[in-house]
């Protein structure tokens, strides 16, 4: 048993375990267990019972998601399992740790997941800049092929599975599940309409599961120790542990595996060492650039999907960005919206055209050249670019921090507006003249 199913084999002071070391530490026992002793249905039941929720940001129950994949002899083939290792949401630095720290854990998670789904092929879709992680994963996969953990009739059973690393070449939208599938097919990464959902019609129209790296890395220990063990790891109703991170003007920025539901105050004070000297906490994004802002008064809320959701934000990736009291706040908002504007895939108009308008309006406010119309546009954008008006969740994600910033810090925006000087003859001038008489 362990309290840290994700990071127990990770020690940044040494190279990651090779296959022999990982096996000696108990690795690939879950693979042996599922193939020798468990049916895919029994494994899926463990996944459902565990309450594991997707760690990529949306928090969808993994067992339920997987239960939509057609099973049995009549299921369309090939079936696919894909690891979303396109970690690119600003402020997020957790999957890099998992892949660089223990590549065999993700590989085992992919093989175990592949068995549960009775998949034929797996892909690890990794962002192009993670060169070292891709190298380590390729080496781990080669070791597994040599050992018979990948290939035909794995461990003497009747199930065969192949696994490949796909390195990408930039663009945040690739992390969107259906855009990722288009990208993996060698196309522009524009999102697809849903339904059909990828579980039924994904890669090349075949059943496909896409899950975040951290989600898949939970599978080996979950199979080894069971659903009840997994649930008791958490402090709250949302099961398991979570990789939490804190970055910004804090003394000890980092990423730590802790019980799900650990409050931000503990992350900030005990793990991140508190704010840097001379800086105070103004606000924070709990889990990446698309998660609405939270305030110091929210520091004691458990950091899980349910509690953070009730505050009108999202746990997202669980890696918090701290915004201090001395940063140019409007500049920080502009930086975030610049990212989203640049990374729009361009497929739908509100996102492609609306986000650059948002960025420009924030740019004028930042330079103290903004007018009331800029502020009005920002307010309007928070519904025009929100859920229901765009093709995917990209622009709504961009509106998350902006909408909460307008709600919590209206004075930051208002103080940057320059009122036009009253000119003789215009309405304001007339109004001023009439009141003086």
């Amino acid at each position: 048993m362990t309290e840290k199913p994700l990071t127990r084999h990770i020690d940044p002071s040494r190279p990651p375990f090779d296959l022999a070391q990982y096996e000696k530490a108990g690795g690939y026992s879950a693979l042996g267990k599922v193939i020798r002793d468990m049916t895919p249905a029994a494994c899926l039941q463990v996944l459902k019972d565990s309450g594991l929720r997707g760690r990529g940001g949306a928090g969808f129950p993994t067992g339920m998601k997987w239960s939509f994949v057609p099973m049995g002899a009549d299921a369309p083939r090939p079936k696919y399992i894909v690891a979303n290792a396109d970690e690119m949401e600003p402020g997020t630095f957790k999957d890099r740790l998992l892949m660089e720290g223990c590549p065999h854990l993700l590989v085992e998670g992919m093989i175990v997941g592949g068995y549960i789904l009775q998949a034929d092929v797996g892909y690890i879709f990794i962002r192009g800049e993670y060169v070292e992680a891709a190298r380590l994963l390729n080496r781990a996969i080669a070791e597994c092929r040599e050992k018979g953990f990948l290939g035909n009739n794995i461990l003497g059973g009747d199930w065969s599975f192949e696994l490949h690393v796909h390195t990408s070449a930039g663009r945040y939208i690739c992390g969107e599940e259906t855009a990722l599938l288009n990208s993996l097919e060698g196309k522009r990464a524009t999102p697809r309409a849903k339904p059909p959902f990828p579980q039924v019609s994904g890669l090349w129209g075949k059943p496909t599961i896409v899950n975040n790296v951290e989600t898949l890395c939970n599978l080996p220990a979950l199979i080894d120790y069971g659903a009840e063990w997994f649930k008791q790891l958490s402090l709250t109703e949302d099961a398991g542990t979570k990789l939490y991170g804190v970055s910004g003007r804090v003394k000890n920025p980092g990423c730590w595996e802790l019980p799900m539901g650990t409050p931000m105050r503990e992350l900030l004070q005990e793990y991140a060492g508190g704010m840097c000297d001379g800086y105070g906490l103004k606000t924070f994004l709990p889990g990446g650039a698309s998660t609405p802002l939270l305030l110091p008064e929210h520091l004691d809320t458990p950091m899980d999907y349910t509690h953070i959701g009730k505050l009108g934000s999202r746990l997202g990736t669980g890696t918090a960005i701290v915004i201090d009291d001395q940063v140019d706040f409007i500049g920080a908002m502009k930086n975030l919206e610049h990212f989203f504007a640049q990374e729009s895939c361009g497929f739908c108009t509100p996102c492609r055209d609306g986000l650059p308008w948002v960025e420009k309006a924030l740019g004028r406010l930042q330079q103290r050249r903004g007018q009331r119309t800029d502020l009005e546009w920002l307010q309007r954008a928070t519904w025009m670019l929100n859920m229901g008006n765009t093709f995917c969740a990209h622009a709504p994600g961009a509106m998350g921090p902006l909408e909460s910033a307008l709600k919590y810090f209206p004075e930051e925006f208002a103080s940057r507006v320059v009122e036009p000087k009253p000119q003789p003859g215009n309405s304001q001038g007339k109004a001023a003249a009439s009141t003086s008489t």
């Binding site: 490949h164 070449a169 990208s183 920025p253 920080a332």
Partner: protein, 169 residues
């Protein structure tokens, strides 16, 4: 299909791609049901060998993967790490993610501007350096960071960035 890609390449004279490039592209294409799926990796292979993807290279890769050149150019121009114009011998990719921005990436940009005389998207006259902004590099605990020739350098300051601005590693 993968076999189709193999046949195609033998039917056409691939004058612009080296045997090495073709072998690497075929190895990637073998991972997928359809050769087009290897398009991004194929473009990256060409870029690894040549620094960028010219129109000629693009046409040859398209032929190898059973795509039209227009289709492949649509892919090439979508992805930010594929260069459709020549770049310098060294690429500097400065992270402009929110944490790096808060911790001073603009100061690093100014240092590079001052020292090398280039801004985002520009290459030095001696063709040594190209400066490009990149999105969050997933190393926010070590901000601010920069990739030099795809290698990560962290905890940068206007002072300790100096050695990185002195030619190849």
């Amino acid at each position: 299909m993968v076999e189709a890609a193999a046949n195609l390449s033998s039917q056409h004279l691939i004058s612009n791609l080296s045997d090495q490039e073709i072998a690497e592209i075929r190895a990637e294409a073998a991972h997928y049901e359809y050769p087009q799926a290897a398009s991004i990796e194929a473009l990256k292979i060409v870029q690894k060998h040549r620094g960028w993807v010219s129109d000629e290279s693009l046409r040859e890769v398209a032929r190898l993967l059973d795509m039209s050149a227009e289709q492949l150019d649509g892919v090439a121009t979508f992805y930010s790490l594929i260069f459709r114009r020549p770049v310098g011998k060294n690429t500097l990719m400065l992270c402009d993610g929110i944490t790096c921005w808060m911790l001073g990436c603009e100061k690093l940009r100014e240092t590079i501007q001052h020292r090398l005389g280039i801004d985002y998207g520009q290459t030095t006259a001696d063709n040594e350096f190209t400066l490009i902004p990149v999105t969050c590099q997933g190393a926010c605990d070590r901000a601010p960071v920069m990739l030099k020739n795809m290698r990560l350098h962290s905890h940068l300051t206007p002072e300790n960035i100096e050695p990185l601005l002195k030619g190849s590693e």
